[in-house]
Symmetry: C2
Subunit: 379 residues, 2 copies
Amino acid sequence: MDGENPASARFSFEVRGRDAATGARLGVLRTAHGEIPTPVFMPVGTAGTVKALPHEWLEALDARVILANTYHLYLRPGPERISRIGGLHRLISWPRAILTDSGGYQIFSHRELRRIEEEGVRFQSHLDGSSHFLTPESVMDIQRVLGSDIAMVLDDCTPYPCGHPDAEISMELSTRWARRCAVHWSRDCHEARALFGIVQGSTFADLRTRSAEALLDLGFEGFAVGGLSVGEPKSAMFEVLEHTLPLLPDTRPRYLMGVGTPRDIVRAVALGVDMFDCVLPTRNARNGCLFTSEGRLLIKNAAFADDERPPDPDCTCLTCRRYSRAYLRHLYVSGEYLSATLNTMHNVTFYLDMMGKIREAIASKSFGKWLERMEKWPE
Amino acid sequence: MDGENPASARFSFEVRGRDAATGARLGVLRTAHGEIPTPVFMPVGTAGTVKALPHEWLEALDARVILANTYHLYLRPGPERISRIGGLHRLISWPRAILTDSGGYQIFSHRELRRIEEEGVRFQSHLDGSSHFLTPESVMDIQRVLGSDIAMVLDDCTPYPCGHPDAEISMELSTRWARRCAVHWSRDCHEARALFGIVQGSTFADLRTRSAEALLDLGFEGFAVGGLSVGEPKSAMFEVLEHTLPLLPDTRPRYLMGVGTPRDIVRAVALGVDMFDCVLPTRNARNGCLFTSEGRLLIKNAAFADDERPPDPDCTCLTCRRYSRAYLRHLYVSGEYLSATLNTMHNVTFYLDMMGKIREAIASKSFGKWLERMEKWPE
């Protein structure tokens, strides 16, 4: 059921094309659960489901990879159960690739419930208050049990704003943890699966440099830029990216965690990012905010009550092909499940379509135009 | 978009076969939105959506008709908006048949918010407390605006238990309202659409007889048995059915409102009922209760946490073909949207498959066996 294909069982990344004017690049990630053309957006499926969206519809969109969350899955249903079932792919019946984040960000988000120590992180479950202790090693073991195609190191995510001394302490801890992750992962290394390092260092160029350099020595299959989109101004985020991305090896995939708006994504692609995840399309969908070619559309707006147009006339998603703004508004104000499902289908389509167009634009040497157009997209 | 087909625009019902030993019969309802083989179960789509189930999946199940609710749609989005859009089929993008109940039952359910008068019913909206007054005539007008393929008269639904004097008063009011509905409906009669009368009279045979006889004179296209499944014992419900159904014309469809469990349905088919609706499969699905060939399955049960079997090994629905009890339990305890969607898909499939098997059994002269088998189904 997990569809793992031993014939293509070695994880790899290949750069297949480049934009002449920017850092944008075309590539392909090969995993035991299929190939993933990059740049790619990974819909967020925290607990093993992209909220409100049936797997069948994700497949109809040709989503090649979803992101699941080690922290949430560790707490529920727990690694023992997932192990007995034979891994996450099998539990959730998803035959394509899965990236799991390490839980660092989630533990960081529940600030009042956790304590960082050198050995690892102590925290209380947000579900039942039970006490837990995760280490870099145990997080590797959990992701191994999950059978993640791409696993992430455990990191300490620095809040924003943060002074240089605190950011340095945090980055150095993340670096030591990354080393422990790499060592532990390599002891029982499944060559079909990849472990990515995460560059930290808040908004400080010197710390980002030191973080990246330390990670480069550890032989990761890919590199993420973490600790962004945590409240800093956009300009600061892009400064960090412009500084950090050139430090990473050209031959390895680059993943910008938790970002972002359509415009953020296109800009980051131009800087050389290959992989993205973000709750924006799915969470906004549930809140009635639809991404369209003309900007955001708040479906609860009374103006849509009699509006027979689809959410986005330029969109060919299942929702736009069949349903009107009037119906989607009715479903939203009525609190119906179908509202979340149809809105999510549209927003995830918007993001995946955008990535497809980005890839086409890079391939056809017209990425510059794309970048210009998205600069006009009303955020 | 509403797919109305003028060529088949006359509503009709035809009995096509009968069981030799029971009152069960095979038939077909012809509507402007398609043919409906009977006996039929109509999934409940109160607000214009079968909760948590995409239209696409209903169509994949070949659901030919859904039930929507006049009361709910009157309050939201309101008949003016539905009129501007061009009817309910168009608003919700559902090209197949729709039966609308009149709202009598819903107003009855909000007992503290309503007052019954001869002219009609005064009530406060359960949504915003606003005051409303509906009459038999206005309820006909609303269902005309909705474009219901099958409309229901406004009735006064008697609670259980109820003394004979009160039940008689209520039944007589329902009868006067039914007459007003029939008169008003006939003034602007769309021959593609049907109006059904509703037999009332609580558990009293004499009242049921008088109600049925009065309705017969009013030229309804079909007859419902109402006021059941409101708390009375099963035996009382079946006594009413056994008494009432023979009073109704053999050539017209018979609809048992709001019923019921799988066993109830099979038994009622044996008495000659053609049409059913009930929230049981959809509401139970959202509460994690799945109907299976071996009885009910409460998916939150810890025993299912490691259970890789589908909910029902005998079922071929989308849910059972792909997903395990372990995953469905995980989705349920995690409060995920997909839980409601996958569970609803299964339960609605269970009901529609059962109706298909009932029709096959009647056609192949094996309905008696079916009846026996369902008597063993553990309710």
